[in-house]
């Protein structure tokens, strides 16, 4: 009792881990989205490659990559544990349960939405991260390993990947899952951390709604724009 160590084994502690790692992952989404937006400002892809090069070589970013992976893993493992624990807390289900009468479907489906996102992440990481970090871009499709500035041409990889309609569809579906996951997760994290205030909670909730919609639209815009060749 009364120590930080056993705090995280309690139900509230487990939820705190979900909230804190969730907000940390949200901060990553902002950085990722910002870099994606480079695509829309330079049709040649040089700006995007510059950004990708910086992300791949800057030592602070590389160090944070390890922290990010740890945070992601913690969020996933803890999320799955909580989901199974919560299911076990009601061994006999209701014959008729009118969940929509008192809560939003996505707030009750965080485990499902998270699992969909995990499946997307596996595809997404093998699409780009594995290519960039491990297998090497020169092995990819025989495309040019470097752009005009001598940076590895992630832009070319991306264009090739997003020429496949099934992949674009998958990414868009995943971003819909992300939007709903965040729609509940953003505000929920603050409640878990104990911040519920008559004046500020409505602001947090509204920010969460706008953030979820805007960031998911921006993410989805990239593969869609590349597939249809809009402005690119």
């Amino acid at each position: 009792m009364g120590s930080i160590a056993n705090a995280f084994s309690s139900s509230i502690g487990k939820k705190l881990i979900m909230g804190l790692t969730g907000l940390f992952l949200i901060s990553f989404l902002v950085v990722h989205c910002f870099l994606n937006a480079f695509v829309f400002f330079d049709k040649t892809g040089a700006l995007f490659n510059e950004g990708a090069h910086f992300m791949a070589t800057n030592w602070i970013i590389r160090a944070m990559e390890v922290v990010l992976m740890a945070g992601l893993l913690l969020h996933i493992v803890q999320g799955l544990r909580l989901t199974f624990q919560n299911q076990a807390a009601r061994p006999v289900k209701y014959a008729y349960n009118d969940g929509n009468a008192n809560s939003k479907w996505y707030s009750r489906s965080m485990g499902l939405l998270g699992t969909l996102l995990l499946m997307f992440l596996i595809v997404h990481l093998s699409d780009f991260w594995i290519v960039s970090r491990f297998t090497g871009i020169e092995h990819f499709n025989g495309s040019t390993p470097a752009d005009l500035n001598g940076h590895e041409d992630m832009f070319a990889v991306m264009k090739a990947k997003f020429s496949e309609p099934w992949r674009v569809g998958l990414y868009v579906l995943a971003m819909i899952s992300l939007a709903y996951h965040l729609l509940h997760g953003f505000a929920s994290a603050f409640q878990t951390m104990g911040w519920n205030h008559k004046k500020y909670t409505p602001i947090i909730k509204a920010t969460g709604v706008w953030f979820s919609i805007i960031i998911s639209l921006l993410f989805a815009a990239m593969p869609v724009a590349i597939y249809f060749g809009w402005g690119l």
Binding site: G2, S11, K14
Partner: protein, 256 residues
Amino acid sequence: MSTGNMNLTLKVWRQKNSKDSGKMVDYKVSEISPDMSFLEMFDVLNEDLITKGDDPIVFDHDCREGICGMCSMFINGRPHGPKDAVTTCQLHMRSFKDGDTIVVEPWRAKAFPVIKDLTVDRSAFDRVIAAGGFISVNTGNAQDANALPIPKAQADAAFEAAACIGCGACVATCKNASAMLFVSAKISQLALLPQGQPERYKRVQNMVAQMDAEGFGNCTNTGACEAECPKGISLENIARMNRDFVTAKFVSEEEG
């Protein structure tokens, strides 16, 4: 709103004892007055069953005026039925229409095992209270009421938390069968008042530990509990409990 008497079909959970697997059984009730409470409608059905020589349906009830927290039916997918801010005993048959089919189940949670039919064992709540939901004071004459100044807003919030009747609707409706709304109300009613301060951080640690030990699920902030609570207990109490818990574990030197 109908004024004439109603004929209804009930689908009720029947379970002989905690070992029995139980099943839904259909019953017909006729000539039900819209002015009856839901429990009075069950009384009529039970009279019927007794006359026929059947086993009457066991259900919890006591004051029948919405203050004791005993009644506990999960009606048409919602605890205490379709109306907001009422208990089952305060639910009237005028909330239903002639010819309706009504599904009635017990609270479903690992921590609330079914004793018989619609009655569940809610002593898990009692054990959570026993773990710290009290203040330790010497007995004797009551103090002067205004000896300890308490801000109005603080007193109101404590009073609102204290309105919890411990019926368990929050657990029943929560997709995780979490007891966070109940426990947070019982912690808040003391944490907000001066009398609750000496044991504040010990209390939150002990009550949360007991809540976890009872097998309730974890809170995912769906807000279903707040929406279904017959006493309108707010999610603010859960946030307060979370704050107190973090303070207790990270800052306070109070042992649980």
